[in-house]
Amino acid sequence: MQAIELLAIVVLLPFFAAPLAAWSARFNRYAAAWVAGGATLVALALFAWLVYGHIDLMPVATSHAWIEAAGLSFGFRLDGLSMMFTGLILVIGLLIVIYARYYLSPGDSMGRFFAYLLMFMGAMLGVVLSENLINLVIFWELTSLASFLLISYWQHRKEARYGARLALAITGAGGLALLGGVLILGHIVGSYELTDVLAAGELIKNHDLYAPALILILLGVFTKSAQFPFHFWLPNAMAAPTPVSAYLHSATMVKAGIFLLARFFPALAGTDLWVIIVSSAGLATFLLGAYTALFRHDLKGLLAYSTISHLGLITLLFGFGTQLAAVAGIFHILNHATFKASLFMVAGIVDHETGTRDMRRLGGLIRFMPHTAALGMIAAMAMAGVPLFNGFLSKEMFFTESVRVAGSMGPVWLLPLLVSLGGLLSVAYSLRFVHDTFFGRPDGDLPKKPHEPPGMMKRPVDLLVVLCLAVGILPALVIGPLLHIAVTGVLQTEPPYYSLSLWHGFNIPLLMSAVALAGGVALYLMRRPIFRWHALSLAHLDARVVYNRLMELLMRTGAGVTAMVDTGRLGRIVLFTLAFAFGAGILGYLLPLGLEPVRNAVERGATPDNGDWVTWLGIGLIILAAMVTTVWHRQRLFALITMSVVGLGVAMIFARFSAPDLAMTQLSVEVVTMILLLLALFYLPQQSRKLSTPARRWRDAGIATAIGGGISALTYAIISRPFESISGYFLDQSVPGGGGTNVVNVILVDFRGYDTFGEITVLALAGLGIFAMLKGLSLPASKRDPFGRTWTEDPHPLMLRTFTQILLPLTLLFGVYVFLRGHNEPGGGFIAGLIVASALVAQYMANGIETAERKLHLPIHGILGAGLLIALGTGLASMGFGVPFLTSAMAHFSLPLIGEIHLASAIAFDLGVFLVVVGSTMLILLNLGRLTDHAVEHPDYSAIETSPAPRSTRRGNDA
């Protein structure tokens, strides 16, 4: 195995650590933080080692086929871009873990918090490291889910729940669009591997489907990165605990969209469509976010909108479509992550130590927490783009690029003017963040007496702030090499020349910076009239209103449609279903191709129809029994008996027409079904009441006749025509491939073993569901039979007890025999299971449940579980040998006395089937039977059977 395969560990480690963190918190609440921090550190160390070993080889990718037919593979990719993002996610993640350890209050569940955080981290790592695009989308959706959990962490808060739902709805919808876009992209390129997609840029851009693919992918990007008009989920996500906000909105969640822009840059960027959509969305978001941020009174609200604004800035840079702009974009991603994480953490500290985040109440904190104030000021100056801080450099590059491309976008002065305006606003809100919090004086008393936070809460911020300064002062030295690798990863070629120095001489970008700085300060100084004007005018605009209206409309439409279809009347729903099926059938007949074959088949009549009168008579009897059941269905016991005649008849038909396995199954199922229905009937009225009017009964009879007639015609049309079967393969391969001569059984346990595995799972679930429903249930039951006679005094007659005792070993032996021969002769796990179950049930019936349980000691749940595990284990065992799930192995050997034995591994699987069938049948029947012990006799039995309701109070007329 190559070392690079370990990338998968980096991604999966947080997922494995998540449950561990949740579990460890049960012993010590800080253990969760240690687990989270440890896992992050290990992942970081492993990743650093991998980077060290592959630094000259990048890009490197691994890929393992997962679902080849769907183009899905499990693989990861290490290149400059994924390296930079992985580093950001892990380093900032580690700092957040430390910070959160001190931030969370004793009332908050540490285990849950760190488990969610780790899941989110793993999902983010998956997004940035994926080599396969579908793989990427899966992780993308996981980030949406994990962020939902994180934002709604304080579940008791209404705004947290609302914010989480909003984020999930918007980013989840975007994820769907992204999936669509990626599928189109894969269709264009013919591969979902990033290596192929990135190399096929020209092909993609010239393809007819480029526009839809681009738009769908951009929908994913814009929703995730909170670009206008999908920006409004982000401020609402601020209901999350501050460490979450700091993580999600600096280095991760919202950067996932930006990451995708960078990732697809070589494949999608540069066309007119790209430039128009991406740059206009980016510009609008940049300005709107910066403007709104200025007027937020909540510290986190201000930071949220400034995040939106900076995301817009980065999007705008990628929207320019030039390589130099992409360099600036990448650089700003790094810078924004450092200063924004610091600012969120500072806001968290302020909130934590004063009890409020409202800038109208805060003030003068520099006297109480000078250290924190210093951190906040440095980070805010980086955000404002003051020289000597890292934000200045990328902002200068941004201004330079906007001047460079301005000519191609409207009047040459427009774009520089607009971006300067955005810069000006960001200076103003940065200033407000610092001044309103740390200077001036507080408005009245603060909820808490402010003081410096615990030292460890500041360390993560210290580190980030030092980075802001180091990058700002010595960019080429500190960030140059990393940026070079990252940019190479984005562009997939050697990047163009760019300069990282502080001083580029007097030029237009410098002028723009100066204007932004001076203008921002001026704007802040005369903020009062502007704030008043804003409060009166634009403050009422809120994108959420549109969203809420849309959601309300959606809900109301949904409720309306549901109310139309589902009136709470089963009869009506069944009628709809039947009418639809009937209509579809009729349509099938009427379509041009449909009627012809039917007529042909009818004209040809009975093709070689090897009939004999015994069969016809038998079929006639079954028809009669079915009719009787239907007509006299109100006498329930009688109807049940006639119905069992039908069941037995069906078994005979199976036997007659070469299906011995089916005949045996039907026969044994018939036994358990009858026991089941008889038991159930014990608790139900013995007669059905006449609830429907004659007209309604005739209508139902008409519907039944129409559908029955249609089915008859359809069946006849099909079976009187020759056909081609796909079974040749199964017949040919049964012995060499499956190691058995009974093809039906071989199909069940081998060819279609996976289906059977699903089916026994359903069976087990049905058994468990019934067990759960019956638990603690007590039902009124009559002590009299339908004719008014009391039940017998002797519930367990001696004759029955004796005979079942004698029969038990015989039936069990027969069951084993049927099971063992199953692979080669009619029989097998299903049938044997039913036979054994009915033998055991007979014991319970004859001796009473408690006595039988004392004698038999059957761990029924254990049998059920063992069956499923054995079936699963057989399948997994074959994977252990490097062949697909449930591949058969065979052995041929001879034993003394017994002779030649041919054993296929499928028999182990069949054993699983057998156990599940026994287990669930017993579980169902025993629990139903056990109810009789608790059955209470209702004094006035008939009084319970009141009519459902007086007709007049119900709308509609139902049976």
Partner: protein, 123 residues
């Protein structure tokens, strides 16, 4: 003739099932579902065409019948049992909770009135 008779049987089973499923009490509905599943199983089975004395066991006969529908039907029979059991227990549970065996459950007149009042503004 056998084809025709069997087609008729499948139709009758389905029709009987449909009629019973449209009844208003739980037990007939369960009977109906059982009859319908007989019909469906037979329908699936006959898609492999009818052959006598030709079980799909290698080496038993020259020209064995189609095993695939049989394998499908075999599990369908067992699943149908599980489904019947689930539905009938659900019916029992409903009867315990609501006090009757109507498929739509009990309509307490009071609850109806509350519902009506809620719906008034829209009407």
């Amino acid at each position: 003739m056998t084809n025709l008779a069997l087609s008729l049987l499948i139709g009758v089973l389905t029709g009987a099932g449909v009629y019973l499923v449209l009844r208003a009490q739980t037990f007939p509905v369960v009977l109906g579902l059982t009859l319908m599943s007989y019909g469906v199983n037979l329908f699936l089975f006959t898609m492999g065409r009818l052959q006598t004395a030709a079980p799909a066991v290698i080496g038993a006969v020259e020209n064995p019948t189609d095993p695939l529908p049989q394998a499908l039907v075999l599990t369908a029979i067992v699943i149908a049992f599980a489904m019947t059991a689930f539905v009938i227990v659900l019916a029992l549970k409903a009867r315990a909770a609501l006090g009757n065996d109507h498929v739509d459950g009990m309509h307490i007149p009071q609850a109806d009135r509350v519902l009506d009042r809620k719906e008034e503004p829209r009407a």
